[in-house]
Symmetry: C2
Subunit: 252 residues, 2 copies
């Protein structure tokens, strides 16, 4: 199994990802928020790359079951129902709803992966679930860290640490032969340094400090809770839904 | 002093770098080769972003004092005088010559930095010299790791390790207050894991394996020798020359 990784999604063309098995990591906050929204009963997430796309798509859908969520510069977009804080995506707010979702980095990475062979959405809150999906897939995987557009480095420490911790888990699996690209090796090394205190790392990261300044200090706590929401959002057709457990005890 | 870093040069526009103090790191092999060429008496290096630029520029220069050097897919470009192995840039070959220089990653990063306030060229062979230049500059600096175009990750482990080791040196300087961006923190963490054996790291890196396959196994040894060529190539106007020692004993 080869593991490759990109520290941002800027350079990808969607057709380039057609044959790839992709894990999109956007810890702050798209991956975390989508996971919580689906866990809380949202019917589906439709990731789009621009506000224009969100407006076009929502025009063709029924208003009462469709919400628009996301952010620009960390804040709710004018005319949208929800911002990008996981706290807004409660059961009351999202149950049964389709959510057209537009953010600066995460939804762009997901929209670019719309033709990927597989797309799953990973973060700290579903770290082991995501790792198990990769492990059981027994295919080559590509981590796309959403990174941070409009910064010089196009890089987010928290996404690299999260991907690196998943790689740590994969390397611990004895039955698995894992080959790492240079960038995957780097994420692994970064996670070795920063995995001891996820919450502290988030608070001192560039994006974390930006969110604290905007008043989203509680979001960081939620985003830091490893394995707190053990479900897996995956692309099914053109929308993201929860992966059904194949061996679900309730169904036997 | 703020230290920022990009793991590749793909997304930069040259005007974006106008006000920056840039260190371009391309360990395999542009930074190393340029440093050796200038140490061996080359008059100047003119980095260009494309073969077309190289051909245009060399048409307006005198043939006998101008060489064209560089690579595509690791190999010498048709019609060029020199490839990209540091071994080719001996005193006999380069003394007194202007070298128009075109490579896949390094010269592109340098050409994009042509309007930067400062541009210096760093690698393992001039690691301490480069670090001292940053330390004495007392300004904010941006490391641009050349990375590797046409790969998914656009990333080179060796460039991240080299920049990270320079950051290690800066952090050790007691009189210096250094603030690291997320990406600079990541490079630092990566270098902590991989700085113990530079030569081994190069041999197992993606680009290193590629060069070994092409027969350039000796180049890796040269590129791994920390502080073996303690000089600093810097941009002066539109060309890269050696920085003169301000306190050179011979001149006092």
């Amino acid at each position: 199994m080869k593991i490759d990784l990109s520290f941002n999604a800027v350079q990808f063309d969607e057709l380039q990802l057609r044959e790839k098995n992709v894990i999109v990591i956007d810890v702050l906050r798209a991956s975390t928020t989508i996971t919580i929204a689906l866990k809380n009963g949202a019917r589906e997430i439709i990731p789009v790359a621009s506000i224009e796309s969100a407006v076009k798509i929502s025009g063709s859908l029924f208003g009462e079951v469709t919400l628009r969520g996301g952010e620009r510069n960390g804040k709710i977009i004018e005319g949208f129902n929800l911002g990008n804080s996981p706290l807004e995506y409660s059961e009351t707010a999202v149950k049964g709803k389709s959510i057209i979702y537009c953010t600066t980095n995460g939804s762009v990475a997901m929209a670019k992966s719309r033709y990927a062979r597989t797309l799953a959405v990973g973060s700290f809150i579903n770290l082991t679930t995501t790792t198990n999906f990769i492990r059981d897939g027994k295919k080559d995987f590509l981590f796309i860290c959403a990174g941070r557009a409009n910064t010089v480095g196009n890089f987010s420490l928290e996404d690299a640490v999260c991907a690196g911790m998943m790689i740590q888990n994969l390397l611990k699996t004895e039955s698995l032969e894992v080959e790492l690209s240079d960038s995957a090796k780097a994420a692994y090394a970064v996670s070795k340094t920063y995995s001891r205190s996820i919450h502290k790392m988030l608070k001192t990261s560039e994006h974390g400090k930006f969110l604290i300044d905007l008043g989203f200090v509680e979001d960081l706590k939620i985003c830091a809770q490893v394995d707190s929401v053990p479900v897996l959002p995956i692309l099914m057709g053109t929308v993201i839904k929860l992966k059904k457990e194949e061996n679900n005890i309730e169904n036997t």
